[in-house]
């Protein structure tokens, strides 16, 4: 505890001068503090964004609980300090520390990041630097700390290879413990860092980038990726076969200050049966697996009782797809209503939004409603395989209006493959139809209806059928925005869109290759960090960085990639086959939809990899 106390004293000198200091001191209920003398392996779990965002993330809570359940392993939390805090830390030579022990993370065995979105990449560099750990993997010496990353973004780890010693591809529950066990062995044997990495590469799902060579063609595309030192030619993602039995936390660290999702969260299913062609999560988290009703109920109870939260939300990519959703909600609401707990259901698909479901969630408390038709016309919705019709949308909003709602938020994407101005106008037409539906609903609530239309720029992502597609360029985006603006004469419809510059960088980083690592480094050197925040995002610095590295952003973002091109991520196996993605891409261009996994197997390749029994259980 000596260090904890002396660090506390140093923090006391200035913490009152920073915003919301309780984010930086730990000590919350549910946080795990161990006796250092009895701990063999220490893991700094880093979320490269603010405390409020990171603390809302379920994956972190799962891995935190799981690792700390092993007596001689200690996992602690680390978040990105905001500029006011960082400035103080740098001025006082306080290295980035973990919230439980307040110990500097540079002395830990692992520094592990979860990468949830591309715009957090520069935060990783900033955090490593603030920790006093060399930002470049090639400059690190000694066995520890091993700097690693997991999370959805690492399905294309290539833009990050300069910074990480290894990546954990796929579901982390088993892999993380296996790595920690390996570290225990290597520490005892006193092996080198290289030896640890060589052995780690033998663990299924672990990708050690230094064990792969990449060659390029003259046109700048990847020619080949070659494994060495016994590393596998293809790194196959890990999945949890028995999802119902996998570790789930029965307690959370309950923060002192309000966070983004300040509630209990229970995971009900993993993967998604839908196959919306733009959605990376829909492919990389396959196969689809559900937890048993009893398991979900028991986990909900335990979590609510242990945390004291009066709100619980069911988490998944599409909760409405749970096979017996009505039965599940009935059992859950029996418990939550009795305990005066508010049950919330994010991620409900429009076509699964039934009267019964709405009744269950509005029994306790009313919140705003968001629907995501994604595309404005049936044609474009067929292209993206979002199997939702205008009738589905109208049925849902009618139920909502009957249920007392007046305001609806509609979420769309702009710049989808094959999109025409007609599809863009369709967005407005759909919003207008929702307003008309309000007045056509006999028992609608009093008040004026409102539709908030939110448009984001489509970003092609790896391991989706759209990984071959160009991103719409700036001129195209501006033209569509101007057109939508000019046709909207209804003040009940408010249209907003995301910033183009930001989606361009996101597109570049999503499908970048090893050379983009250099540009990320250069951008960070120029002061880029907290890129996800409008007020901190510096597009001109990013542009300069790419120019200085001799890299063309359009090459990564706006170019159509052929089916034959070797993708920078082609040595990563997310179980979904490339043949399937190509087939789906062709179907998209032909405007043909694909049935969901429950209706018919689309032969994505996952069933073959996992033996088929998991997929068969879907139906």
């Amino acid at each position: 505890m000596d260090n904890t106390n002396s660090m506390m004293e140093r923090l006391d000198e200035f913490l009152l001068d920073v915003q919301k200091p309780s984010r930086y001191i730990g000590g919350e209920t549910g946080s795990v503090v161990k006796d250092k003398s009895k701990v063999d392996i220490r893991f700094a779990f880093c979320f490269p964004d603010t405390y409020e965002i990171g603390m809302s993330h379920l994956g972190m809570k799962i891995l935190y609980g799981l690792k700390n359940a092993v007596p001689n392993y200690w996992c602690e939390r680390v978040f990105m300090p905001l500029p006011d805090m960082e400035e103080q830390m740098r001025a006082r030579d306080i290295p980035l520390y973990a919230l439980e022990s307040l110990d500097p993370i540079k002395d830990f065995d692992f520094i592990g990041f979860t990468l949830q979105y591309e715009m957090s990449y520069t935060n990783v560099l900033e955090m490593l630097d603030l920790a006093g750990v060399p930002v470049l993997a090639s400059e690190r010496e000694g066995l520890a700390p091993i700097v690693m990353a997991g999370g959805p973004c690492v399905c294309n780890p290539e833009p990050l290879v300069d910074f990480f010693d290894l990546f954990a591809i796929g579901e982390g529950e088993e892999m993380n413990l296996e790595l920690m066990r390996l570290m225990e062995v290597c520490k005892k044997e006193g092996t080198t860092r290289q030896e640890f990495l060589r052995r780690a590469a033998q663990i299924e799902g672990i990708y050690v980038p230094s064990l792969y060579d990449v060659d390029y063609n003259e046109d700048g595309t990847v020619k080949s990726i070659t494994a060495k030192d016994g590393a596998p030619a293809k790194v196959r993602k890990r999945i949890i076969k028995d999802f119902d039995k996998v570790y789930a936390p029965d307690n959370f660290v309950v923060p002192f200050t309000q966070i983004v999702h300040d509630r209990a969260v229970v995971e009900v299913l993993r993967g998604c049966i839908r196959g919306c062609r733009f959605c990376q999560a829909g492919f990389i988290y396959r196969p689809y697996r559900e937890k048993q009703k009893d398991t979900i109920l028991a986990q909900t109870k335990a979590l609510c009782e242990n945390t004291g939260y009066d709100e619980v939300s069911l988490s998944s990519l599409s909760t409405g797809d749970y096979k017996d959703i009505v039965g599940l909600l009935s059992e859950l609401t029996d418990y939550t209503t009795g305990e005066k707990i508010n049950l919330s259901l994010p991620s409900l698909r429009i076509d699964r939004f039934s009267d019964e479901v709405l009744k269950k969630i509005t029994d306790v408390r009313k919140s705003g409603l968001t629907f995501a038709p994604e595309g404005g016309t049936q044609r474009i919705r067929d292209v993206i395989n979002k199997n939702v019709t205008e009738k589905n949308v109208m049925d849902s909003v009618r139920i909502a209006f009957e249920g007392g709602y007046t305001n609806i938020k509609l979420y769309f994407m702009m710049g989808l493959p094959t999109e025409t101005m007609e599809d863009v106008e369709g967005v407005y037409e759909l919003a207008k139809a929702v307003i008309e539906e309000f007045y056509a609903t006999p028992n609608h609530a009093k008040g004026r209806p409102g539709v908030a239309v939110s448009l984001s720029t489509f970003i092609p992502k790896p391991f989706t059928p759209f990984e071959f597609e160009p991103q719409l360029d700036e001129a195209g985006v501006k033209e569509r925005q101007a057109h939508l603006k000019s046709i909207n004469n209804d003040r009940k419809i408010v249209i907003s869109w995301s910033k183009y510059d930001l989606s361009l960088i996101e597109a570049v980083l999503a499908r970048g290759d090893r050379r983009t690592s250099k540009a990320i480094y250069a951008a960070w050197k120029k002061g880029c960090k907290l890129d996800g925040w409008d007020e901190h995002f510096k597009f001109d610095k990013w542009k300069e960085a790419f120019e200085e590295c001799g890299l063309d952003m359009a090459f990564y973002a706006n170019r159509r990639r052929s089916y034959e091109e070797v993708a920078p991520w082609s040595h990563i196996d997310m179980l979904v086959s490339r043949e399937f993605l190509i087939e789906e891409n062709k179907r998209a261009h032909a405007g043909v939809t694909t049935p969901n996994c429950r209706e018919k197997c689309s032969n994505c390749g996952v069933a073959k990899c996992v033996g088929g029994e998991i997929c068969r259980a879907i139906r």
């Binding site: 506390m8 004293e9 006391d12 000198e13 913490l15 009152l16 919301k20 200091p21 309780s22 930086y24 001191i25 730990g26 000590g27 919350e28 209920t29 309950v254 002192f256 200050t257 309000q258 009782e305 242990n306 945390t307 004291g308 939260y309 009066d310 005066k340 408390r365």
Partner: protein, 209 residues
């Protein structure tokens, strides 16, 4: 429903000093929920556990004897309420005593503080011994000049530790950090380390009960 007014005295030390007054209430309410004690909730559409705090503590200050009130729906022994709350609270918030309230929060007149600081003890002594210690006190309504000398009582200075009593309560409250603002103004140097601990609260010339 009949309910029993209940008062808990608690300490809020260490890391808990960074929990703001606003956040403290949700920290306590969630802890109460975890205890499963029969604590009264407001009625209505969004029922809420009802807790009131006697005297807000400034962010960054610690308290050894803070008070909060709530209502029990059943008669649970005081010791059991204390123990169950302590099992559910963060380590740096400890309930020391559970009683039946005698005084109202409007009865609070003063609070005593123990202040450990890096201020030069001689300079601090000289400041405390001045005829007048005028300093600007800012409130939501504006600012006034107060003479701390007239307001501070029972001053004990022992090395780096100052013990002092200031007026406190719902109508007129003096934050002891004002004394160190006066120090900074007097000597042109900010006190780097300042640990302010509220050790007791008073109702007239006796302890608040």
């Amino acid at each position: 429903m009949p309910s029993v007014n209940t008062r808990a005295f608690f300490s809020k030390m260490g890391r808990a000093k960074y929990i703001s007054h606003l956040d403290l209430s949700s920290v306590i309410i969630r802890a109460m929920k975890r205890t499963k004690l029969p604590i009264w909730q407001t009625e209505g559409y969004n029922p809420r556990t009802y807790v009131t705090f006697m005297l807000p503590l400034s962010l960054g200050q610690e308290g050894e004897h803070e008070a909060m009130d709530f209502r029990m729906l059943e008669d649970v022994p005081a010791g059991e309420i204390r123990d169950r709350l302590n099992a559910a609270l963060p380590a740096d918030i400890r309930v020391t005593e559970v009683t039946v309230p005698k005084d109202k929060n409007t009865d609070i007149t003063a609070a005593r503080y123990r202040i450990e600081s890096s201020a030069d003890p001689e300079k601090l002594r000289a400041l405390c011994e001045k005829e007048q210690i005028n300093i600007e006190k800012r409130t939501k309504k504006g600012s006034t000049i107060v003479d701390l000398k007239q307001l501070m009582t029972d001053v004990e200075l022992d090395g780096n530790v100052l013990r002092v009593t200031f007026p406190a309560g719902t109508t007129f409250n003096i934050n002891p950090s004002l004394l160190f603002e006066a120090y900074a103004a007097e000597y042109g140097e900010k006190v780097k380390r300042l640990r302010i601990i509220r050790t007791n609260i008073y109702s007239g010339n006796r302890e608040f009960e």
